[in-house]
Subunit: 323 residues, 2 copies
């Protein structure tokens, strides 16, 4: 739930005048997203998203994110694209922040996940992986293995305040992942945060994917592992193997998952669970009382991590070798 | 910054199907308003506001609020109106809450107040007071004099935590207002909360007024006094008498302010300042740490109260008898 920056009507009008999109008729802050300030901007020609990039997004990364959205859309992937102003720029400044106007994507993110959603999201992820080919900018995944230990060390002294023995659990998991992380799998541009609130549906059909602000170059199968964590656990934290199977089947229909990728899924799923556990733990310990954004419960991802620690192979995700 | 209730896509679709407004294509929570959950709902036919009434709004008051919006709009006042479903109902249920779909009002509320805005809002308030004539429901102002003492008593024990001697200041002001409050002034339906975030403008011209959830029957001049507090103080808390004069002049152009009403303005302005001071103080002391809504600083209204305590007559508001 965001909107950190209040944009005055005068500043807004001046900013919008740089684009060929008509006159502003309404602009309302959106209570979604935690990294940026987002407004639903309406002009006499249509609806748009106005995004002001707050300090958690590095300005140097913005050409990658905005360029990726343009590249994916140009290659047929359903996602919003930044508009270019009359001088051809996609990125401007508003209220002393980098800002962009993004096309509006119809649809809503699903609050109650069905197996059908999982099939669709698997297919969309594969299409994104394919559509990213040829994008000429690179961005390392700052939240993969090398980023986890520094993040762990910042939270370690207070980790046991959140859950008994959490510090030791995290330390030994980190040792295991550093020692066993795969080093040669098919890679390319991944979304890295394809949670339900970033995937829109209209009448049960996926209408597009938003929020590319964690996108980076990494293993495709790591992105799939993020999706397993994001889509296949029930609200009671149990794992729904049918949803996992549907997600993988949906993916496979667009891009085959290689035997090596399938074999790596359990460790990639552990790594992905640890990644969200560490960032949520950091936010949990460092969000000031009374902050506008309520931190999410890190323990949800401890349960997910423990699930993946106990699986005895990729068959646990519903898709056997023989499929 | 609100949105307390998450509406699932299935529940939303079922609710919207009761109305003749087409199919949902988007629905986003709005980060504005503190009493209710508001969504900007888009269908293939247009934009609407979906409001879920949270516990601070009494269900029994909703027919007054929704009926008033219809009545005002039917009498030419620019404000949103509730849509009626196929059975003629303006009020439904969604996620176990009363809910309504309201027409969408173009415009934005002004972040930086100009004298021109003040002229416009004065005129709009007068037009609302006139348009309210003939509305057949009544609602007492729960936040006028009889409501202040109970509110004060709930905060009194801890008032001095917020500001030195605040408890004594409030107690003596309350005594003064109870003893001197006018009892016979022109009355009718008032908005009672016409702050800048409830008044929309397009290109400097007022496009309409929203949020009638404090509307009630009370003195028209009390509503004017609320506006003086809401529009005529600068961000540094100094009083801008030019803005006050413009506001009153704008009002007078539509509905004459009687000598008795003008004479009562200082005490009504004190009462209005105390009303917002008391509700903000209550929220300040009772909002749990980490709540989604950050309470507003009550001290802003102590400064306003002190200004009105020191004026020596209605001339302080820029409009003399000779005008």
């Amino acid at each position: 739930m965001a909107v950190y920056t209040e944009v005055s009507d005068d500043d807004l009008r001046a900013f919008v005048a740089r684009y060929d999109i008509g006159d502003v008729v309404a602009c309302k802050g959106i209570a979604e997203g935690v990294e940026n300030s987002n407004y639903l901007l309406q002009t006499d020609r249509g609806s748009y998203i106005l995004t002001l990039y707050e300090k958690r997004v590095a300005r140097a990364d913005l050409p990658f994110f905005l360029g990726l959205m343009e590249h994916l859309a140009a290659n047929g992937f359903a996602c919003p694209t930044p508009l270019r102003d009359r001088t051809g720029e996609a990125l401007g400044d508003l209220c002393d922040r980098p800002a962009a106007i993004i096309s509006f994507l119809h649809g809503m993110w699903p609050r109650r996940i069905s197996t059908r959603h999982c099939t669709e999201v698997g297919g969309a992820m594969a299409r994104m992986h394919l559509a990213g080919a040829g994008f000429n900018l690179k961005r390392a995944n700052a939240l993969s293995v090398p980023g986890w230990r520094p993040l762990f060390e910042q939270s370690a002294p207070r980790a046991d305040e959140v859950n008994t023995c959490l510090r030791d659990t995290l330390a030994s998991e980190l040792d295991h992942l550093e020692a066993n992380w795969p080093n040669a799998l098919p890679d390319g541009v991944i979304h890295a945060d394809m949670f339900p609130d970033n995937v829109f549906f209209l009448d049960g059909v996926l209408s597009g994917v938003i929020d590319f602000y964690f996108a980076c170059n990494d293993f495709f199968a790591y992105d799939i592992a993020v999706c397993l964590n994001a889509w296949c656990f029930e609200p009671d934290r149990s794992f729904n193997v049918t949803k996992a199977r549907q997600l993988l089947t949906g993916y496979q229909a667009e891009r085959p998952i290689s035997p090596a990728e399938l074999e790596a899924l359990p460790i990639l799923a552990r790594g992905s669970a640890l990644r969200f556990l560490l960032t949520r733990l950091y936010d949990w310990l460092n969000t000031p009382d009374g902050a506008l954004v309520k931190p999410k419960d890190p323990m949800e991802f401890l349960v997910k991590l423990q699930f993946h620690q106990q699986v005895n192979g990729p068959g646990a995700y519903g898709l056997g070798w023989s499929d």
